[in-house]
Each structure stands twice: as C-alpha cells, then as structure tokens.
Symmetry: D3
Subunit: 136 residues, 6 copies
C-alpha cells in the first residue's frame, strides 16, 4: 500500500461514525485541553491519534455501565501504579474534577495507592496531582 | 531484641486501638473470608498481618473522604495494572460487590483496563474476575 | 441501557466489517487454536473477545507496513518484558513459527531479552518458549 | 553458521576460564540445588545456561567489593519488586541463609518491601519466603 | 467529616508517639536533607508526609532485626528495579553512605542489578548514583 | 582487592578478545553516537561500560541466528513495554533505521505496542520515536 493510500485511509477514518463518537466523548470528558492534545498527536502520528479516539473514547469511555467519574478515578489508579505517565495523570485528574470528583476524593485515592503501588510511585503522583488540582 | 520480646510486642500490638480499628474495617469490608486470610497470614508472619490490618485497613480503608465501593474499584484497577496478584484481585472483586458495585461496573472496568494495562493483563484479569463473580 | 440491548449490540457487533476483518486476521495468524481461545473468551466476556478481535486483529495485525513474522517476534519481546503472560507467550511463539520464524530466531530473541528484561523473566520465558516449540 | 558449529561453540564455551569461574561461584553460593537447576537449564537451552553461569556468576557474584550475604539480600529485594519470580526467590532465600543471613533478617526485608514494592507483592513474597525457610 | 476536623486530626497525629518515633528514625537516617523533603511534602499533603514518617520510618526503619546499611542497600535494589524514582534513589544512596556503605559496595550493587532489572534501568541508575555519590 | 588492582583489571579487560568483539559490534550497529555514549559511560563507570560492550554486544548482538534489523525492532518493543528508557529508545530507533528498517515499520510497531504495553507507554514512545526519526 502506497503512502498516499494510507493518507486517504486516515481522511476516511476521521469521517467514520466510530471516530465521530470518540471525538464527542473526548470533548465531553477532557474539553479543549483534550482536543489540543489530540490535534498535536495528529501531527506526530495521525494513526496513533485515531487509535486513541476510536478505541479509548468510542469503544470504552462512551459505553454505558460505569459513570465517567468512576472511570476517571480508576484510570488514575492505573496510571499511578504503572508510573512514568505524568502527562496522562494530569489530564485525568482534570477530567475527574470535571466529572464531579472532589479534591479530597482524588487525594484519598493517591494515599490509598501507597498500599498497592508502593510509596515512591504514590509520593511522586501526589506531587503531580496536587499541581494539576491547583492548575484546574 | 530477643524473639520473646518480639512475640510480646505482637501481643501488645493486637490490643492497640489502631489494630482494633483496622480489624473492624477488614471485617466490614471483606467479611469472614478476609478474617480467614488474615488468620492464615498471622501463622506465616504475624508482623505482616499486623502491617496489613494497621496500615491498609486502619490508616486507609477506615478513613472518610472516599467511599468503599470506589476504593475497591480503584484497587481492582491497580491490581490489574501490576499483574501477578490473582488472590488479591478475587478478594477485592468480592469486596466491591459487597460494597454495592454491580457485576457490569466491574466488567466495564476490566474492559477499560485494556487501554492502560494492555490486553494480556486485562484478558487474564477478566478470567479471574468472572470466576470471582460466579463464586460470590 | 438494559442487558438485552447490550446483547443485541454484541450480535450486531459480530456482523460488522471490522469484526469480520479481525476474525479473518486471527484465523490466518493463529489458526484453529486462536479461534478456540476466542470462542472460550466469548463465553467469559463477549465484549472482551470483541475488543481483541476488533482492536488487536482488525486495527493492527491486519494493517500493512510490518510483516506478520516481525510483528510476532516483537510481541514476544513485549510479553517476555512484562512477564506474567505465559498463555499469550505460547500462542505467539506458535504464530511466529507459522509465520516463518525459525526455532533459532525465537531462542536468540529470548537470549537477547536477558539484556533488557533481566534474567529471571528471560529464564522463565525460555522454559515456556521451548515447551511451545516442542508442542508446535 | 550450522547447528553443529553452534554445538561445538558450546563445548568450547564450557571449557573457558570464565565459564569455570562462574561454575565455581555458582557451586559455592547455591550448592547442589543450584547445580541441578543449571543442568536442567542446559537441557532446555545450553546458551541460556552459559549466559547465567558466565554473566551472573563469573562477571558479578565472583567479583570482590560486595559480600555474598548482602548480594543475596539485594537480589531478594529486586525479585520481590519485579514479582513473578518465585523459583528464583526460593533459590536466593536458600543462598542468603547459606551465606549467613538469619531468618529474621530475611523476613524484616520482606516486611520493608511493603513500602517500595507494595503490599500485594510483599504478601505473596512472604508466603514463598517462609516456605523456602522451612524447607532449608 | 469536615475539613477542620481533618486538620485537627493531623495536628494530633504529629504529637503521637508513633509519629515522633518515625521522625527520629528519619532524622537519624536521612539527616537535614530528609527533614527538608518531609517539610516540603507536608505543604503538598500532610497526610502523605504522615504516612511516610509513621509507616516507613516508625513501623519499619526503626525496627530491630536488620541493620540500616543493609536496609538502605536493599531499598536501592528495589528502586533500581522499579525505575522512575530518581529522587528516592539519590536520597537512599546518601543514606547508605551515611550508614557506612562504601562507594564500591553501592556501585557493585548497581552492576549486579543489570542481571535482575535489565541493562536500561541499571545504566540509568548508575548515572543517578554516581551523581549522588559525587554530591554527598 | 585494592582500587589499583581493579583499574589494572579494567585495562586488561579492554584488551580481551571479548571486549574487542563487542566494541566492533557496537561500532557497526550504533556508529559514532554509540561510541560517544560508551566513552561517556566509561568516565562514569568503566565496569558498567565493559558489561554493556562485553555482554550486550559481544555475547548477543554479535551472535548469528537473528538479523540486526529484527534484533533492533524487538529491543524497541521491549523498551516501550518497560518504559522509562527514552535515551535507549532513541538510540535503538537510529540503529534500526541504520540496519534497514523503514520509518513505517517502526511506527507500525509502536502502534501495535498499544495492545501489549498499553496506551500511555505507546503514546509517549511515539513522541520519542518520531523525534528520533526526524533527527536521524
């Protein structure tokens, strides 16, 4: 498949119902900051941006069965545990607050993560999270 | 410090307000299964059992600021992400159900974890979680 | 959304072009064993099976730009590094052989992983991989 | 390079001063159990066994500058932290005891690992370690 | 529970015997740098600072059964293995030197970690550790 | 063993056939950039530099049985999965291109890693990889 065909594929991809559904979920959850991050990723890799929008947002966050606030808190728990994802951690703290989580709920969660992820990861996360809360 | 002094310390430790507060939280959240696991761990290592009861349960789960259902779902997210903790995963699925989480909320969470923890960990967790839900 | 609507969604999902494309890629790469694993996963969680077929197989393995043999060897490298995924490791060793990788290429890769994933993970992987090669 | 040449290489490899030095260190630290594990690994993959003997034992454990007891305790700390290495964990507990570590030193270390590796990994390790101590 | 009650709890917490015991262990092991790090963390999250002082220092480092030098070397092994904890790694290298570890013992440990944590983590740690040794 | 003896050992080490074989493989695969990184590491820790040259390059990359292009792509897969190794990731992207991998093969691999390593690690890797490709 030639490079031009791939570019054509990407254009078609963005017009699909799945992509549109994902973009709407992204916008509703992460607002203008989330849109800006995706526009930036599209310049780096349109395929990667499409994977995020289609798989993470259309196939998961847009599904019923678990409210966005709980989804965001669980994502924070996963990010603290794997470490090395400060950028995503900040974005999901902002999204959790937007979905109705309180500052106290988020900090209680980080404290609880000392049990499961260990202290070095939880201590680092507390610094990142408090900065994101101040900036929100 | 001689071995006997350490044993005396353990006896005193179990009488402390902190240990009692932790044991109550453990009982409320994990029921008889949780108590049995801790009695078994006390035979292996009374110090380790005391750390779990005092630190995890008295210092964290007994704190206000985040409800037990959300704490349990976030713990599940962390356990799926780090992998290798099937025993804890089962226990926290049972505790999440006991705290009012639905089967669908838990399975949605595991599906969402494909995004953050990757497919191999989420696929394995889905098998463990579905067994725990059946057995609950 | 009621449970019946979700089941209807799953039926519609399996008829989609994306699901069909993924199922074809799965069949071509993993053969009857892969189909059996997916049928089993569908009983545990039809949503999880659909995520694997649609996202892993339709959105990635079916894409041009990287041959299946190289994709499989890179997947093996990732699985050895994260650990705890013996079942997937076996399946991808079988798929790598089917795609034309030699036994020696796979064992060289596992030896090389001592450098990046450390010896405990590589030693364990060598045992799993050699069993999979014998059984292939 | 043909398969026979590789086998010839392995024979030559085992005669090298580096291999011999590693084998002596392995024998001194892990005794007959360690030798048996390596003989088993040689049947699975002679190259992997040679990597362990040459790199781990000749290039590291045989070096001066850090005593074997401390090396073993640090290895245990690393294994608890990465998880999924029960077999190595047992072997290094036995080696630590052989090098003069006390049962109490090893269990204190596992308790301390709750701080850095998190409770699920430390709890699992305590079970494995206590079994290894009983069996030693 | 209102915010003021939580603040009152924190004040009471710092007066407890457990907190005082932890603060003394922290001061003895990490000196003025450790105290400064904790004062900084108290501004970010007094609860997190209390968890570190009470759980890590009062409940573990202040316990008999394993000397501080060995505790510090094992902590370094754990931090190298999990990665992403440069700040803690520096602090524990300084503490290990203060507890009597030699520069050579620490660098031998980092070399040994190539076996268990893999080369990328050990190479990165060697850079961080050598900087901490120079600055000590 | 005194410090001078260790320095003498290092000088002898660099003259060995194994070290020379490793240095040649390093030069062939990573070119002048790789040599510069090793010269820098020799100033930080000559023993660590020797471990990389001898173990990674002489004992693995110089072995037959797996071509350098595939070795480099598999190393990239491992580095994305473990995270926290941007410096090595850049170096191995450059080496993969030098060994004949195309830009598209590398980006397809990073996209595929969303499945196994999760999105946060793959998204971060895509940014690092695209920078390395631009700079190559």
């Amino acid at each position: 498949m030639a490079k031009d065909d791939i570019n054509d594929d990407e254009v078609a991809r963005e017009k699909s119902a799945r992509y549109q559904k994902g973009w709407e979920a992204l916008t509703a959850i992460h607002g203008e900051t989330g849109m800006a991050v995706m526009e930036e990723m599209k310049k780096t890799s349109p395929e990667m941006a499409a994977c995020v929008i289609e798989y993470a947002f259309a196939d998961h966050y847009a599904r019923p069965g678990l409210d966005i606030k709980t989804r965001e808190l669980c994502t924070i728990a996963s990010l603290v545990t794997q470490g090395g994802a400060d950028r995503e951690l900040e974005a999901h703290v902002t999204a959790a607050l937007k979905a109705g989580a309180t500052k106290q709920e988020i900090t209680e969660l980080i404290l609880q993560m000392t049990i499961y992820a260990g202290f070095p990861k939880a201590l680092h996360a507390m610094r990142v999270v408090m900065d994101a809360i101040e900036g929100a």
